[in-house]
């Protein structure tokens, strides 16, 4: 029996799960930062107007 597909599958699953788990908070932080920056810019614009 050829074991290669199982080994490849296991490491692909590992890459997928670990990448997703690591990237999720990074992306959320980036989105949050953009939101906060937008809000601050709007508020600054409202104050100067």
């Amino acid at each position: 029996m050829d074991h290669t597909p199982f080994i490849v599958g296991a490491y692909a699953a590992g890459a997928l799960v670990l990448t997703w788990c690591a990237l999720a908070p990074v992306l959320r932080l980036r989105r949050l930062r953009r939101q906060l920056a937008d809000r601050q810019r709007r508020r600054a614009a409202a104050e100067s107007a």
Binding site: H3, A13, P25, L29, R33
Partner: protein, 248 residues
């Protein structure tokens, strides 16, 4: 003020922790990727196939560290949960809660790789083997902690409830582990004892490297999640506003 609380206060001041994490994360990632690449090369290229299991033994270099991490992170989560409950330290709550998804990911990975290893070895994807069953129960425990934390409206209340549950789970975990192991020997007297066989020296080094790499992965991931939580909680404070406007 107790020593534990003082330590947490020193290292738990949000802006300080945020900056420290931002500085440390790249180095942790570098260590994780470096060690991981080295370990993978050793395990996938240099190490010989096992004479009983054949090539499929290479899955072990991912499966075993994942299983170790899944249990280690649970213990860590419960210890931080204990600190959070006894000394009411917010930083400990954050760390305990941020650990849960990472631990759950490793548990899931241990299950997936375990069953992918089982197909060529046992001829089936799932066997109610002691370790796989324990991992499955552990996954349920993680999901319970995460689900409980998310179910509350007030985040701090949810965090403390989850910490308490993690602690209860930690007390039960050894009982679950041993009872499942014992149950397994009861029902499968002649189970495939390959996994239990002692580690061959040629496996030791890549295994160790991969175990170290996963530890750095956990630390980096944990600090990233902590950073996210710190910003969420302090979105109105001065230092977050400054950070938001910093040029990237």
């Amino acid at each position: 003020m107790s020593t534990v609380k003082r330590i947490f206060h020193q290292f738990g001041s949000p802006p300080w922790l945020f900056r420290f994490a931002g500085f440390a994360i790249p180095w942790l990632w570098a260590a994780c990727l470096g060690l991981g690449a080295w370990g993978l090369w050793w395990g996938l290229v240099k190490a010989p196939p096992d004479y009983l299991q054949g090539e499929s033994v290479r899955i072990m270099y991912l499966h075993v560290p994942s299983a170790w991490m899944s249990m280690g992170i649970y213990a860590g989560m419960a210890v931080f949960g204990f600190c959070a409950l006894v000394w009411r330290v917010r930083a400990a709550e954050v760390i305990a809660l941020a650990s849960a998804p990472v631990g759950a990911a490793f548990t899931l990975l241990a299950l997936v790789t375990g069953s992918l290893w089982g197909r060529p070895t046992w001829g089936t994807y799932w066997v109610w083997d002691a370790r796989l069953t324990s991992e499955l129960v552990l996954l349920f425990l993680y999901l319970g902690v995460m689900g409980l934390a998310a179910a509350f409206d007030e985040p701090r209340k949810g965090a403390r409830a989850a910490c308490l549950l993690a602690l209860v789970g930690l007390v039960n975990l050894p009982l679950i582990h041993y009872s499942v192991e014992w149950w397994n020997t009861l029902h499968q007297p002649a189970s495939v004892g390959v996994e239990g066989s002692s580690i061959h020296p040629s496996m030791l080094w890549p295994l160790l490297l991969m175990a170290l790499a996963t530890k750095f992965y956990y630390l980096a991931n944990l600090l990233t999640r902590t950073r996210l939580q710190l910003v969420v909680e302090n979105r109105k404070s001065r230092w977050v506003r400054d950070w938001v406007l910093e040029t990237r």
